[in-house]
């Protein structure tokens, strides 16, 4: 591993040097043609979400140095144009619609519905009690069971969730973070029951705890405890479940929490570098485990900015993995990512407009070279999506894929003066953040002191003020407003979910082998006390005894307590 202190600042210096712009012909055109055409054209401000001023025109002189070298060819270092040589001509992106609500039975039905309509990968949302490691009968879970996703308290729920779905044939992404290791243990236990060996299961747990402290705020313990659990999943999966992605390094939530595109890019990759260093410190080499790291980005409404962000992300990841972390295998250097269109850009007002926003954002994801895509439904500013709205969102992807022709050639925007310039600019600003984070003591420290969170909150507030002032337009919200809009039909989660989940939990609690539960939890506690032990086998044993998610989480709560975030306002 290359020493950090000078790596980032030297990279930054080189890129700054490279990006310096001078083009005499452009200057001449601007003075002699543009200014005569429209003398007032300089007054209006054109900036993107990252605060980068956009010129009226980009020209060959905006691209410096050896463009071919920093683009590479698709499937070759540094993968700016895409990680696969043929991209979508060989195989389309995976259309992965995030779903989950109510009881495991409800979600099981929705998953089968999506499979039937051509979805190619499952993606599960969990409810708040599950995400925070509480059982459905905890007092805090009152009113929240099944509201934002499916509720899972014990292995029994997981068995129902995947009933009739062959875990050897589907790939399943589970959006679960703080208790990821518990849900992964449950998934493995269901696979075992179905007779599917662990080396055949494929999918992802999100498990990116750093972005929880930054943005989504769903943690149970102090950061170090969760990081140890991630290390254990990393080591266990590398050995026993090689097709499982044990982490999805997520910028999505960072963006939704208010970050700009550049902040999303920089903070997400900085988190990624931290996980790489964790693997190296656990005695693995980058080539052993980093090919299983994958990313999750937001695709928001500023079309070219998003595309540039995704292209820059690939180039930075490949370069840093190679130059700083000693990767030799090209697969290790490939940044694979999932994309979700932006929830923040969806409006409560005139909800059908959201279909158009989602289409633009989805196209940016495809032109940015995503490996899988979730398109939001138009009613999601209101509630969890209804079945019809989900279908329109899935059809949006199918129209892009099979009608629009934008997937017919690899990286169709490659070579665009604007897109290449913007890619270079985002790259530069990301390195500038890496350098600042390094100087702030590394990403973990920058999170614990609230530096990262403050950067995001400031951006978010500035943006809100721009919307208030009408400098940034949201159609239907601060322009083209309609009075007395008719209400739309939304999905309601009935209280039945809570009742039936509590009943099932009570049945499990009454029928399980209590002695077996006690012993497995005891063994898990001993394992937790010893940092050098891998927790994964103990987690599997505990969930197989039908210990609940809360019983398992309580061990850590007792040993390590919770976490109070730094004050940032």
């Amino acid at each position: 591993m290359v020493d950090s202190s000078s790596f980032w600042s030297e990279k930054l210096k080189n890129i700054e040097e490279r990006n310096k712009s001078e083009d005499p012909q452009y200057k001449k055109w601007k003075k002699e043609v543009l200014e005569k055409w429209n003398p007032g054209s300089e007054e209006k401000e054109f900036i993107n979400s990252s605060g980068i001023p956009i010129k009226e025109l980009y020209v060959p002189g905006d691209l410096h140095g050896d463009l071919n070298e920093r683009l590479g060819y698709p499937g070759t270092f540094p993968f700016t144009r895409g990680i696969y040589p043929d991209m979508y001509r060989g195989r389309l992106w995976t259309m992965r619609m995030f779903s989950g609500f109510g009881t495991p039975e409800d979600t099981n039905r929705r998953l089968k519905y999506l499979i039937q309509h051509g979805e190619s990968g499952l993606s599960i949302a969990f409810d708040m009690p599950t995400l925070y490691g509480y059982d459905c009968n905890n007092e805090r879970a009152e009113g929240e069971v099944g509201k934002c996703g499916v509720n899972v308290s014990t292995l029994k729920d997981m068995e129902v969730l995947f009933d009739g779905i062959d875990l050897g044939r589907v790939s399943t992404s589970m959006t679960i973070n703080a208790p990821a290791i518990v849900l992964l243990a449950m998934y493995m236990a269901v696979a075992k029951k179905q007779g599917v060996p662990l080396d055949r299961i494929s999918g992802t747990v999100q498990a990116d705890i750093l972005k929880e402290y930054i943005a989504q705020k769903e943690w149970i313990f102090p950061p170090e405890v969760h990081l140890r659990m991630i290390r254990d999943m990393m080591v266990f999966c590398t050995e026993s479940a090689p097709r499982w992605n044990y982490i999805s390094i997520s910028g999505y939530h960072i963006r939704e929490a208010g970050a700009s595109a550049v902040q999303e890019l920089a903070f997400t990759l900085a988190d990624g570098f931290h996980y790489v260093e964790m693997g190296l410190n656990a005695g693995l080499s980058a080539d052993d485990f980093a090919p299983r790291l994958s990313f999750f980005f937001n695709s928001s409404i500023n079309f070219f900015e998003e595309i540039a962000k995704m292209r820059a992300a690939r180039r930075i990841w490949a370069t840093v993995l190679k130059e700083k972390y000693g990767a030799r295998n090209p697969r290790t250097m490939m940044l694979k990512f999932h994309t979700q269109t932006s929830g923040y850009t969806l409006t409560w007002q005139q909800p059908l407009n959201n279909i158009i926003r989602t289409t633009i954002e989805a196209m940016a994801g495809v032109l940015g070279g995503t490996q899988s895509l979730h398109t939001n439904s138009y009613d999601e500013a209101w509630a969890l999506p209804s079945e019809n709205a989900v279908k329109v969102a899935l059809r949006t992807q199918q129209i892009i894929a099979e009608e629009s022709g934008i997937a017919d050639t690899v990286d169709p925007l490659g070579g665009s003066y604007y897109v290449e310039w913007l890619t270079d600019e985002m790259e530069k600003q990301a390195y500038s953040y890496f350098d600042r984070i390094e100087k702030a003591g590394g990403i973990l420290k920058a999170i614990k002191t609230g530096y990262i969170q403050k950067e995001i909150a400031n951006t978010s507030y500035r943006r809100q003020l721009r919307i208030e002032e009408g400098k940034e337009i949201m159609v239907g919200v601060n322009k083209y407003v309609e009075e007395n809009e008719p209400p739309i039909k939304i999905l309601r989660i009935s209280k039945k979910a809570q009742l039936s989940q509590r009943k099932r939990l009570n049945d499990v609690l009454a029928s399980r082998d209590q002695e077996k539960v006690r012993r497995s939890l005891e063994r898990l506690e001993d394992a937790m006390k010893d940092e050098s032990v891998n927790l994964m086998p103990y987690m599997i044993e505990a969930v197989e005894s039908y210990a609940t998610i809360e019983e398992i989480s309580n061990i850590g709560r007792r040993l390590y307590g919770g976490w109070k975030e730094p004050v940032i306002v």
Partner: protein, 150 residues
């Protein structure tokens, strides 16, 4: 009473607001925007941190003698959780602290919340000005009660 008619109420001590997300919900982007906006509007702003219980919210509001509790939830549990806060306030006989709500609250739920004395219940896209005016209006009611001039 229109907002801002009685600003003399706040001459010595500005409007004091407690922002809280009771319940299990980490969506705090809006909270932070509001905290900054309320502060820029001259209010004294407290934030209850993440995952406070309804009891903790009510305790803090009483101990800090705030004028308004501003509740936010984006997880669909507002009818249950906001009600818990309102019930606790009633149980403790507190009538000089107003409660307002916001988040992803369907129109059909708004009358139910208003019946509990929880007003506003603004959704995404509401201008900051609208929210601030509403907070001031409710703070005037609360402050008048505190001063015994209601």
């Amino acid at each position: 009473m229109a907002a801002g008619k009685n600003l003399s109420l706040f001459r010595d001590k500005p409007v004091k607001v407690l922002l809280a997300k009771p319940g299990i919900d980490g969506h705090d982007r809006g909270m932070f925007v509001l905290a900054k906006a309320f502060r820029d509007a001259g209010m004294d702003v407290l934030y209850a941190g993440l995952l406070p219980t309804p009891e903790e919210v009510v305790d803090t509001a009483i101990n800090e003698d705030v004028d308004v509790i501003a509740l936010s939830l984006l997880n669909g549990a507002h009818l249950v959780v906001f009600k818990k806060v309102a019930d606790l306030m009633k149980k403790r006989g507190i009538d000089d602290i107003a409660i307002v709500g916001g988040g992803t609250i369907p129109d059909a739920d708004k009358p139910k919340l208003e019946k509990l004395g929880i007003t506003g219940n603004y959704g995404p896209g509401t201008p900051l000005k609208t929210i601030i005016e509403h907070i001031i209006m409710r703070a005037e009611e609360a402050r008048s009660r505190k001063l015994g001039i209601a």
